[in-house]
Symmetry: C2
Subunit: 227 residues, 2 copies
Amino acid sequence: MERRFEREIESLKTSLIKMASVVEDSVASAVQALLKEQKDLAEKVIAGDERVNELELENDNTIVDLLALQQPVASDLRFIIAAQKINNDLERIGDHAVNIAESAQTFAATHEQEPLLEIPKMCDIARGMLKDAIDSFINVDPILAKRVLERDDEIDDLNKKMIRAVIELIKSDMKSLEVGLELTRVSRNLERIGDLTTNIAEEVIFQVQARVVKHHAEDRSDVHKIH
Amino acid sequence: MERRFEREIESLKTSLIKMASVVEDSVASAVQALLKEQKDLAEKVIAGDERVNELELENDNTIVDLLALQQPVASDLRFIIAAQKINNDLERIGDHAVNIAESAQTFAATHEQEPLLEIPKMCDIARGMLKDAIDSFINVDPILAKRVLERDDEIDDLNKKMIRAVIELIKSDMKSLEVGLELTRVSRNLERIGDLTTNIAEEVIFQVQARVVKHHAEDRSDVHKIH
């Protein structure tokens, strides 16, 4: 029983790492499709989302089975709860990659080189945060996870800067109205990917330190220990 | 032990119902603040979000304790897993109410009666979906939960219609540029509230039927039974 349980925990971890790698690829491809106006690559990201949804369902069922049949305690339980949330966060990051891929298609269809303003910088930060959040999960590295949390403000500020820049862009040239609205959509999706990678980093820290660091911005001293 | 466990499950349910009621009020107040341009009410919604975050943390800790100390099985386990997800969904709905309240402040500051296009209709649907999703959870009513799922397409369509309407609005009057961007922000937040109430409804159905109905749009026949 004990051995089978350990095997199942390992297999859940492997499955999550695989899903993380699929989602990381989706975000990277969606961003490349957007920056390089590659319509085919955008199409691939959109088609690939079904696989992400399947993986989420598989993992969710594994998690329910593990909780129901094995009655885990202590650190195993913490891992399973973190896994459940990370599973959900990854699926949602996949959805945002799809949204960015859809915007990439819109941009590619206009046959013009668009001004992307802060988008390339936001892409870099979001991809870096996602990579580090996933690495911190794989290597159980709370220090790396904390560094992910610190970068979230940066992407939030760039999102606000984007809205102002888009307003200026449209004011200077009314023809960029549709493009401008699409740019704010991409910007928000990148900002949401930042939030979700922050969630993953928080789960890694929770798993390691048995503390809930959510809502860390409001009160970093008020962490809740698990009894 | 058995009795204490039942009491704790009941107390978790009560706490979630309380949180649901707080979040429902936040959405209703944010919407009213927006439609009636009531700045004070918007301020109240923003200030009230801290309470929602506290409730989420409390519930999360209760859930971890229940799983760790009581090792629940079968229907209790299903309830606890559903509770964990609903807890998270409610907190996120609270965040969207805050976003809408922020937009309400922007609108109130302009001292003009703005054209709200499809927003009032979207507000009605989102509030109705949220109320029904919460009622379906309280009364364990999967039929009501299914009706919530059916309404999600409606709000998605209105969100798309809004984007087109805003483009027309700005084209006809460049002065409505900032207002237009703010309207798309409100529209997207309402659409996200629709998605999250759909999640809650899915959890209610999962809890009752022990089936995963997520990603129902892709393949309704492919439901996963719990072993």
